[in-house]
Amino acid sequence: MSARGETILWLAQRASAAVLALCVMVHLVTIVFAVQGGLSAAEILGRTRGSVVGLVFYATFVIAAAVHAPIGLRATLGEWLGWRGASRDVALVLFAIGLAVLGLRAVAGVFGGAA
């Protein structure tokens, strides 16, 4: 890929990394608290459903992950499996879209709607 293209991927990777760093820290603290004393569906969904803050936070988290993961895999596939060229990039764009769709669906399930 060109210097420009590769630079844009690098920027996207670092920017999404910065967002993810924040999200992961919040997420880790949340789950450490959430699993304390066991989980129950009613308990979790009661707390999450309808939370706009939660919705926006986790939607951002999902999008950042969908940008970040495929770029990292791109280097890995090239270096460790020798898969380079257009077919790799098409596959990774599909992977990114899949990740975003699956993730946003889950976020909508947990945070969308009323309890």
Binding site: R14, A17, L28, L39, L45, L73, T76, L99
Partner: protein, 115 residues
């Protein structure tokens, strides 16, 4: 052409690279599964509770713990990378690798205690 072997790779930054790459690959594989399982379980409270009781199995608990550690390791390694690429530095790279390991360990322990 001679390739590098273990003796050439035995230094802290290489270890940090390997941890970052392998945790990254595993997280990229885990994410779609995580999203899918979450959406599935949200079909209704019954499914969600069934999902949660499944996560109470010791093996699943152990796997969860592994994923949290992976996430913490990838986060710590990522912060190290961002520091290396964006901050002016000279001699504290190794300290950074050690700090990354410490953060991952601490989060892993915290999660293990909370489970």
């Amino acid at each position: 052409m001679r390739r590098n072997e273990l003796r050439a790779r035995a230094h802290p930054a290489y270890g940090a690279f390997l941890v970052h790459r392998i945790s990254g690959i595993l997280l990229a594989l885990f994410l779609p599964v995580h999203f899918w399982a979450l959406s599935q379980s949200l079909q209704g409270a019954v499914q969600f509770d069934r999902f949660l009781s499944w996560t109470a199995l010791p093996a699943v608990k152990f796997a969860e713990w592994g994923i949290v550690v992976l996430l913490a390791a990838h986060l710590a390694g990522g912060l190290r990378l961002l520091a290396l690429e964006f901050l002016p530095w000279r001699d504290w790279q190794k300290g950074l690798a050690a700090a990354a390991a410490a953060v991952a360990l601490a989060v892993g322990l915290a999660f293990a205690l909370a489970l």
